[in-house]
Amino acid sequence: MSAIKLDKLPEKVILPLKQHDGIACAPLVKKGEEVVIGQKIGDCEGSDLAYIHSPYCGTVESVVEMPNPSGKRVLSVIINPLECADSVDFIPEKDATPSRLLEIIKEAGIVEYYQKPTYLALKPGKRIDTLIMNATFPLIANAYLDSLDKVLKGFRLMLEAGGISRGAIVIRADDKESIKAFKNAKVDGKPLTVAPIIGKRHADYYFEDSEDEIIVLAGGKITYTPTMMNLLSGDVMGRKIPLGYEPADVHVAVCGVKSAKAVYDAVYEGKPYLENVITVSGAVNRPGSVLVKFGTPIKDVIEACGGYKGEPGKVIINGTRVGVAIYSDESPVAKDTTGIVVQTKDEVLRDVSSACIHCARCVDVCPMNLLPGRIAVMADQGMYEKCGEYYALSCIECGDCAAVCPAKKHLVQLIRFSKLQLLKMCAEAEPAEVTE
């Protein structure tokens, strides 16, 4: 299944100067200026940055605050695109050293699916022994199967850049199309090993037996969303991450399929991170995966998918579980957008929350083994220390508890609020410890 492409030029392109959860860039262009494809239009300084490049050529209409897929207004460069193919010179660098590779990745502004710039994910400053590629979003993984060799080459480059010795690609066990494609794929002329994860047979078990640098693992039937790092590491590597630690602390780095392809483009073709595959599902006439250039308004993406089916009620960015419902389909697609879900007016939920009946459904579904209902009650009453005692900070905000709640309580929001308060309390408590 290949991705749908946009054949029409959008009327207006909105490029937010902050497309991931990090530092916002400063605009490098002014109103009326001409830009070409691949031109750097946003520059920033700091440690958690992703430069912004223009995927279109045209004239800058203005630099103003515009709606962003995250629901907030962000300073954006607005471009009137033209039918032209002028671009900056893309210089491929095939024999780059690891440090140069990292530099190229940083320069290209590549961002992981979990909001971290790729250069930071690959070299977090701690010893990393395995790079996991999360290919458990079937629609997105399938859209990249046509260019699988490029993805695999990009993955090799990432291993090289990070100085990581082993790479594990994780796919869903029920994603037959991907499994078939990976079985037929070759790295350095050798076929890939596709192995299942059963019980305690984690990645280490297969790495011991084979001399391959990269193996493919078919995990369970879970799609590991950005917050599910702990489970990804636990299921694939058998290394669970204790509360307050990162994947890097258990020597694991995580990347996505998109960024691997982007790394290939950056190194072998010299192109910065300009386009992405996103999924469009729900009430549209032709749902599927779409190859979109960043900055394209969502309404143009929907149009490429055949337009809305029925009267649209809600447009949700990044999934129905934890996604953001946006107020305008003029918002652009950004680097951290993975999917769009459209719901009709009838599908929009109108539940009213009522009292908790302690049915423990939230406890049964919680992948982190928490008591979501209890934490939410205490967060509601402002007992944040108590929330901490019930391990509120371990919550990965997957939204499963809220989805099954028969009382329709806003569990995720309550727990998230208690987490914010707890972190604030920790931050306030820290200076006192230093002075002691």
Binding site: G71, N230, L231, G234, K240, I241, P242, L243, G244, Y245, E311, P312, G313, K314, I316, T320, R321, V322, G323, V324, A325, I326, Y327, S328, D329, V341, Q343, E347, V348, L349, D351, S354, A355, C356, I357, H358, C359, A360, V363, D364, P367, M368, N369, L370, L371, G373, Y390, Y391, S394, G399, A402, A403, V404, C405, P406, A407, K408, H410, V412, Q413
Partner: protein
């Protein structure tokens, strides 16, 4: 321009609501109620009607008086009323059960803070209220013994309404578990513990498996409000219910009362079980 709804996630939820859970339980009790009416006749019908009516009227009165939102349609009051009628003898005068149902919902439920907040199962509390106030009227005519399979289908020695057909209670209760409206941990551990302990102590199982006991296992013990929410806590709660049932039943010789008193006591211990079985999150806690 089209307008879009903006709301917090999740944007898609399970269709199951409190209403579904409660009316599902009521529906599961309909077969046994019909069997009781068939067996006991109008006395049973009158008691069931009086009990449900009492529960609904007092719920309506309290919610109107305190200007709460009316919650009769969520089925909780109907469920409590129906359950209360099933653990009373058919010979009980209808006005007594009417009063008891008012006690169940008025004191047992609303005085403790309404749905989700009561400590003791309202129907059990009302049963104790009846037993203490009119002990003579609450004595069942006979004590059921399911000695053959036909007793499981229609128990001629039924003392309470719920005793008439143990198999109907069992089937509908298991159906609720299969439909995932009721969680399996408590009923399974409760049933196993009771049967194993009774056999070990030498009591015939035919004394134990009665309609009221099965109601206790599948409906009273699984009342989510009065049980611990932790996974291990629910297993301990089930075992505790079983142990207490056998303790009462073995020494008093009456497993019907044993079940109800054991459940009442277990309700009281449930919060204690819960706070002592708090789970550790996946991955553990690095620094406490």
């Amino acid at each position: 321009m089209t307008t879009f709804t903006v709301s917090p996630p999740p944007h898609r939820r399970s269709k199951i609501s409190i209403k579904t859970l409660m009316w599902g339980r009521v529906a599961a009790l309909v077969p046994i109620s019909l069997a009781a009416i068939y067996f006991f006749g109008f006395a049973a019908l009158g008691n069931i009607a009086a009990s449900i009516l009492g529960a609904v009227i007092i719920e309506f009165a309290i919610e109107k008086a305190f200007k709460y939102e009316l919650t009769i349609l969520d089925g909780n009051a109907v469920y409590i009323g129906l359950l209360l009628a099933l653990i009373c003898p058919p010979t009980l005068p209808a006005w007594m059960i009417f009063l008891a149902a008012m006690f169940a919902v008025g004191i047992g439920k609303h005085a403790f803070g309404g749905i989700g907040s009561y400590v003791f199962h309202p129907a059990l509390a009302a049963w104790v209220f009846l037993s203490l106030s009119w002990a003579q009227d609450m004595l069942p005519g006979t004590t059921p013994i399911t000695s053959s399979f036909s007793d499981m289908i229609l128990e001629t020695g039924a003392g309470f309404l719920g005793d008439v057909s143990p198999i109907l209670v069992l089937l509908t209760g298991v159906a609720l578990i299969a439909m995932k409206l009721v969680e399996w941990r408590i009923p399974v551990t409760y049933l196993l513990t009771t049967v194993i302990l009774a056999v070990l102590l030498g009591d015939p199982v035919s004394y134990v498996i009665t309609g009221t006991f099965l109601l206790g296992v599948l409906f009273f013990a699984t009342e989510t409000v009065t049980t611990p929410v932790t996974k291990n806590g629910r297993i301990i709660y089930g075992i505790l219910c079983g142990v207490l049932t056998v303790l009462y039943g073995y020494f008093s010789g009456n497993y019907v009362w044993g079940t109800l008193y054991a459940l009442l006591l277990s309700n009281a211990i449930a919060p204690y079980i819960e706070v002592n079985t708090l789970p550790k999150p996946v991955g553990g806690v690095a620094h406490e």
